[in-house]
Symmetry: C2
Subunit: 367 residues, 2 copies
């Protein structure tokens, strides 16, 4: 006996990267920051009183919104705090998208859905499927850049929410802010552009200036503390946008979506941003070193502006990448392999500490 | 320019009870447990290492599911951990309900929606409105019990998810387990019955036995640590149900919906359940004392099996209740007033510590 809606019964859920319990693993598969969160974060957690847990938390996460607004030069009404960046994605789909008028078997058809690049973060279509929203996929150009007709194709497909991860995952390529501004301008009045900046702390620039532009009322930036602030275990993300967009997202979230501990930790994380920024520079330096050495060993490694590299041991040879993935795993080094078009000959390798990266490089050289 | 779906633009969001920052307030308006969480919970939070926050949390909250299963004599596959009980409610609507085929202006029409009692927890219809699911409302009998034709009316309205809060909010009345079993049996094959046991820790019995009955595959119990375990600030709830229902709910949740700190605290809370249980007894004793003394002062106070009382200073006289509400507030005593049918002549008063309750009773006697 099944009670679930068809779309749920049929759903293939998102598959996160493996989280092995074994502490000896060199874990370069899920893009965590290899450096610990700042001491101030741990102190803030330790300072939370039992009384703060007994009571409901601040429902609007006001202390966090205040410091996030100050950090980014915005108004608190332009900030929403969420239970991880994932919640912001779900909220955006809930607020801007409709279930497909047709069947779940005809994705890409109908209107009111999401628009994504191909490839992209694999969670997006899963969240759309949960809501029954159709998915329009536009392939990236060969260099992972957005095609010239990207916005036009999204408009003609009737997408209401266009999701662009920047720096791009899994390639690490950073799109120019001017290009994103043009796309937002084309979409304006027709669709919202959510720029997923989950990895932007490791890049040389962000798209924050777009949120400040009064004629771009359709841009939402996603930020997370998971990567840049070494707090994947905390589940804390936030959105930056025009106050009207934030007010709408706010209506759809669970009443108390972020808890008292996470709020306290998140405030401390932004207050000690300089320490996190030091880790970003270490990651960038190591990223360039690992890329250089892999290239020296004959791998193809495009430039990345993120905390991972999308590297191919032998372009076009899917079996080689799969074999390297398994060999590394046997040696206790976890990287990520995506069994999908354009990615089967590549591995996504998170940038680790110098020691972890050395272990990776040595294992590769011994293959 | 609006980008939001009509149903979101029109939505009146849930209004939580006031959370004044002033610590001198006697806060009897949002049903927190007046006693602190157990020391073991605070210790568990303090013991969380930076490394646990740097990495993603256990995605299935396995340690919590294990201890919850053991606590309730179930299998871990019959447990789902959620970011507060609110998330479980949202997941259930996402999984079992469809947007109304008609317009949002015709609630109660169409199929695939939720079914609730009138009155009930005011969040339910808000969550349904976010998803566009229609709402069927069946008034409770005069004594707040479920009417005999409750299940039949839900079936005829096409409700796919029936939500019953038990002990009932805001009345505190506890429905008999046999009655709930009969309703679940009537709904079986047609709809899921979610029994919201948010307040069950303060009652003399729960409906746990229904989850163990193999022919009742359509019962979901909601539990939360917010009330019984004094952890409203933590946002941790869970669901207990047939493994097939849990698997479906699991598909719809955000990949990492509960964070590492909350998981650690929640495990410690269940492990130190005896301490929480001591607070439940204190609350029950005080509940009876406050009810008795209010009755002595001429109030009408039905028996409650929860941690609050729904009390009327003067039945039928709405203005009296509203006036008492305001007078108490001026004296720094916050209780809850619901401006809706059958409730306007009543106040919902959370049971506090003996000192808080004395302050309430003294203020009432001086009105």
């Amino acid at each position: 006996m099944s009670y679930e809606r068809d779309r749920i019964a049929r759903l293939s859920p998102y598959v996160p990267g493996e989280q092995p319990a074994d502490g000896d693993i060199v874990k370069l598969n899920t893009n965590e920051n290899p450096y610990p969160p700042s001491a101030a974060v741990m102190e803030a957690i330790g300072a939370v009183q039992a009384e703060q847990l007994r009571r409901y938390p601040p429902p609007q996460a006001k202390p966090f919104r205040d410091i996030a607004a100050k950090t980014h030069g915005l108004d608190p009404a332009q900030v929403i705090a969420t239970n991880g960046g994932d919640e912001l994605l779900r909220l955006a789909i809930t607020v801007y998208c409709d279930a497909a008028p047709g069947t779940p078997e005809s994705p890409g058809g109908g209107g009111g859905g999401i628009g994504v690049t191909e490839p992209t973060y694999s969670l997006y279509p899963v969240l759309a499927a949960i809501q029954g929203a159709p998915v329009t996929r536009v392939p990236l150009d060969d260099d992972w850049s957005l095609p010239d007709d990207f916005a036009a194709r999204m408009i003609s497909a009737g997408a209401k929410l266009v999701l662009v991860v920047n720096p791009h995952a899994p390639s690490g390529r950073l799109e120019a802010v001017d290009r994103l501004r043009d796309i937002a301008g084309e979409l304006r009045g027709k669709a919202v552009l959510l720029i997923d900046e989950a990895y932007v702390d490791f890049a040389e620039r962000d798209a924050l200036s777009l949120v400040g532009e009064s004629d771009l009322d359709n841009v939402i930036l996603l930020r997370t503390l998971s990567k840049g602030y070494s707090l994947a275990g905390l589940r804390f993300g936030y959105g930056l946008a025009h106050a009207d967009r934030i007010a709408a997202l706010d209506k759809a979230r669970d009443s108390y979506n972020t808890d008292a501990l996470a709020q306290a930790a998140a405030v401390a994380a932004l207050a000690s941003r300089d320490q996190a920024a030091a880790s970003w520079q270490l990651v960038r330096d190591e990223r360039e070193r690992v890329a250089r050495q892999l290239r020296d060993m004959g791998w193809q490694v495009p430039d990345s502006q993120s905390n991972f590299l999308l590297a191919s041991p032998n372009p076009g040879q899917d079996a080689v990448a799969a074999s390297v993935f398994n060999s590394l795993k046997q040696r206790g080094i976890f990287v990520r392999y995506f069994d999908q078009d354009r990615l089967r000959d590549k591995l996504r390798i998170t940038v680790g500490t110098p020691g972890q990266n050395d272990a990776l490089l040595e294992a590769v050289s011994n293959l």
